[in-house]
Amino acid sequence: MRYKQKRRIKLIIILAIMAFAAFLYFQHGINLGLDLQGGAHIVLQAQPTEEREINDTVMSGIQSVIERRVNQLGLSEPLIQREGSDRIIVELPAVDSPNEAINTIGRTAMLTFRNSAGEVLMTGEAVKDARADHDQYGRPVIAFTLSDEGSEKFANITRQYIGKKIGIYLDDERLTNPTVQAVIEERGQITGYDTIQAAEEDAILIREGALPVPVEVIETRTVGPTLGSISIQKSIRAGLIGLLLVAIYMVFYYRFPGVLAAVILAIYGLILMGTMAGLQATLTLPGIAGLILSIGIAVEANIIIFERIKDELKSGKRLRAPSHSGFTRAYTTIIDANVTTIMTALILAYFTSGTVRGFAVTLGIGIIVSMFTAFFVTRNVIDIFAGSKLLRENKSFGVRKG
C-alpha cells in the first residue's frame, strides 16, 4: 500500500511540473529573435570630429536623436542601447524595409543652407518643424518652419541673396538649389522630391535634428519577414522529425524503457518550452538548433541511466534495487559530463553576440533542463513502472543473457 501511495505522489509531482511548464508557455509565449520574426540589427559607432570628441553627453545625444527618429518611423518595440564607450546597438523587429530604415537612422542629417561658394549661411538648428507636404502644383515637398531667432536670421540672409542661389543640403546631399525670389522669414519649402515618402523621410531627419557627431554603421544584419517564417516552419518540422527518429531508435533499442524514454522526451520538450518562456529567453535560428541538439543531451542522460540499470540487472539484482543504485551512479556521470558543456555554453555566450549568443543560451538552458528532467522525471517514471511486468523482464533494457 505504501508503495502505491508513493507512486501516486510521484505521478502528481510529474503532472504538476508539466502543468506549470504549460502555464508558463501559454502565459508568456516564446520571444522570437530578429532572424525568425524578421527585422534589423544595427551597430553604430560614433566618429569623433575636430570640434567634438566622444564622451557620455555626446553618446546620450546620439541615443536620444536615434530614439526620436525610430519613433517617428513608426517602428514597434525598438531596442536602442549603448555598448562600450562609442557604440549604439539598434534592434528593429518586424520592419518592412529594413535597409531603408537603417539608412535613415544612421545619417548625421546636418541641414545646411549654403551659398554658391559653398559657405554655410545657416544650419538646421534654426528649424523648428518640418513636415512632408504637397505644394500648389501637387509636388511632394518639405514645408519647414523656423524658430524666432532663425526667422530673423533667414530674413537677413534672403534679403542679401535676392536673385542669387541658396542651396539646401542634408549632409553632403544637395536637396534643392533655388534662386531667392523674395525675403523669407518664418516658413519655407524644400522641393525636388519624387515621392511623398522620400520627403517624409528627410522631414523626420530635419525635424528631429542632426546627430552631434557623425556615426558609422559598422554592422547590420537584416532579415525580411518571409525568410523568418520559412525558417520557423522548417526548423519546427526538422525538430519534430528529429524527435520522432530518436524516439523510434530508443524504442527499437531499449524496448519498453525506450517507450518511457520517448514519453520523457516529450515531457522534456514541454518543460524546456516552459523554461524558455518563463525566462523570457529569445529564440534564434541557431537557438532552435541548440534546442534540437539538447534533445540529444536529454536522451543521453536517459541512456546513461538505462545502461547503468542494465549493468546492475546483468549482475542479477531485481529492478527496484538496480534502478536505485543505477541512478546514484549515473548521477555523478551525468553531472561531470554536463558541467563541461555548460561551461562552453557560458563562455560562448560571453564572447559572442546576437544569434550565436542565442544558441549558447538555449543550449545552456537545454542542458540544465535535461539534467532536471533526468533527476526528477526519469527517476520517478521508472519508479512508477518498477513494479510492472514490462520492466521486470530481463528482455527489457535490451539485456541479453550469456
Binding site: 525580411g224 527518429l245 563541461t340 558543456t341 560571453y350
Partner: protein
C-alpha cells in the same frame, strides 16, 4: 560483485586498446590531409571574419546571375560582386557577396533589384565592417582558448592531470579534423562555425568524461589487473552508451541538416563532422592515449 562480473567477462572482451596504433594512424592521416589543405587553401572565411556585405533575394522567375550583374553595373555599385544562385530557401534565390558597403549603397542595390525583377524580395542583408570582423575573429579565438582552459581545469580538479592533458589532445584532434574537412570542402566559415566548434568540444569532452569516469571506477574495482585492461573494460562497457548517444545526436543533426533550411546547413555540417570525430576520439584516441602515457611513465 562488480569485480566478479568484470573478471568473468574479461576474457571475451573486444580488445580496443591493444590496437591503438591503428586508431592513431587513422587519426593522424586524416589530420595530416586536412592540415595540408589548410596550409594550401586556407579556410574560406566568410564576411563575419573578413568583413563585407551579403544580400540575398528571393525571386519567383528564373533570373540569371548575368542579369543581376547588369543591374549592379547600371547603378555602378559593387560591379565586381560574387553573384550566386542560392537553393533551399524555398524559392529561387540570388546571393550577392561583396566588400563592405555604405547604407546608401545597400538601399540602392535593394531598390534597383526590386525595380528590375518584379517578384524579387529581400530575404536578408548582412554587412560587417572591418572593425567588427577583427573583433569577431579575436573573440572566436578567445572563446576557444577560454573553453579549453576551463575544461582542463575542471577535469584536473575532478580527475587527474593526465586525464586533462589527454582531453586537450582529443579536443585538438576534433577541432583539427573539423577545420581540415572544412578546408577540403571549401565551405564558408562564419561565427556559427565557432559556436559549432565549441559545441563539438563540449560534447566530445562530455563523451570522454563518461569513459574516464568508468576508468576511474575500474581503477578502484579492478586494482589487481594492469591499467590497459582496466581502461579497455571501461571503453568496452561504455560502448553501447557512447554509440547510442552519438547515434541519437547525429540523427537530430541530420534531421536539421536536411529539413532545417539552407541558413543553418553549414552549421549542422560542422556539428556532424565534429560529433563524428568526437565520438571516434573518445573511444579510439582518449583512452588509448592514457594507456600510452602510462606505459611511457612505467618504463
Amino acid at each position: 560483485m562488480k569485480i566478479n562480473l568484470s573478471g568473468s567477462e574479461r576474457g571475451n572482451k573486444v580488445d580496443i586498446l591493444g590496437k591503438r596504433k591503428i586508431w592513431y594512424t587513422v587519426s593522424i592521416v586524416i589530420i595530416a590531409i586536412g592540415l595540408l589543405f589548410l596550409l594550401i587553401n586556407g579556410l574560406n572565411l566568410g564576411i563575419d571574419f573578413n568583413g563585407g556585405t551579403l544580400m540575398e533575394f528571393g525571386v519567383e522567375d528564373d533570373i540569371t546571375t548575368e542579369e543581376v550583374r547588369a543591374v549592379l553595373e547600371r547603378i555602378e555599385i559593387a560591379e565586381d560582386s560574387k553573384i550566386q544562385h542560392s537553393e533551399g530557401s524555398g524559392e529561387n534565390g540570388i546571393i550577392i557577396r561583396t566588400k563592405t558597403l555604405e547604407s546608401e549603397e545597400i538601399v540602392a542595390i535593394d531598390n534597383a533589384i526590386k525595380a528590375e525583377f518584379n517578384s524579387a524580395e529581400m530575404l536578408r542583408t548582412e554587412m560587417v565592417g572591418p572593425t567588427i570582423g577583427r573583433e569577431l575573429r579575436i573573440n572566436a579565438l578567445l572563446a576557444l582558448i577560454a573553453a579549453s582552459i576551463a575544461i582542463v581545469a575542471y577535469i584536473s580538479f575532478r580527475f587527474e592531470f593526465r586525464f586533462a592533458a589527454v582531453s586537450i589532445i582529443t579536443l585538438m584532434h576534433d577541432i583539427l579534423i573539423t577545420l581540415g574537412i572544412f578546408a577540403i570542402l571549401g565551405r564558408e566559415v562564419n561565427t556559427p562555425f565557432v559556436a559549432a566548434l565549441l559545441t563539438i568540444v563540449g560534447y566530445s569532452i562530455n563523451d570522454t568524461i563518461v569513459i574516464f569516469d568508468r576508468i576511474r571506477e575500474n581503477m578502484k574495482l579492478m586494482h589487481k589487473v594492469p591499467f590497459v585492461e582496466q581502461a579497455n573494460t571501461a571503453v568496452v562497457d561504455t560502448l553501447p552508451r557512447s554509440i547510442n548517444t552519438s547515434i541519437t545526436t547525429l540523427i537530430t543533426i541530420l534531421a536539421i541538416y536536411f529539413f532545417g533550411g539552407a541558413s543553418i546547413q553549414t552549421f549542422m555540417l560542422a556539428l556532424f563532422i565534429g560529433m563524428f570525430a568526437g565520438t571516434y576520439s573518445s573511444i579510439f584516441v582518449a583512452s588509448p592515449l592514457l594507456v600510452t602515457w602510462q606505459k611511457k611513465i612505467s618504463k
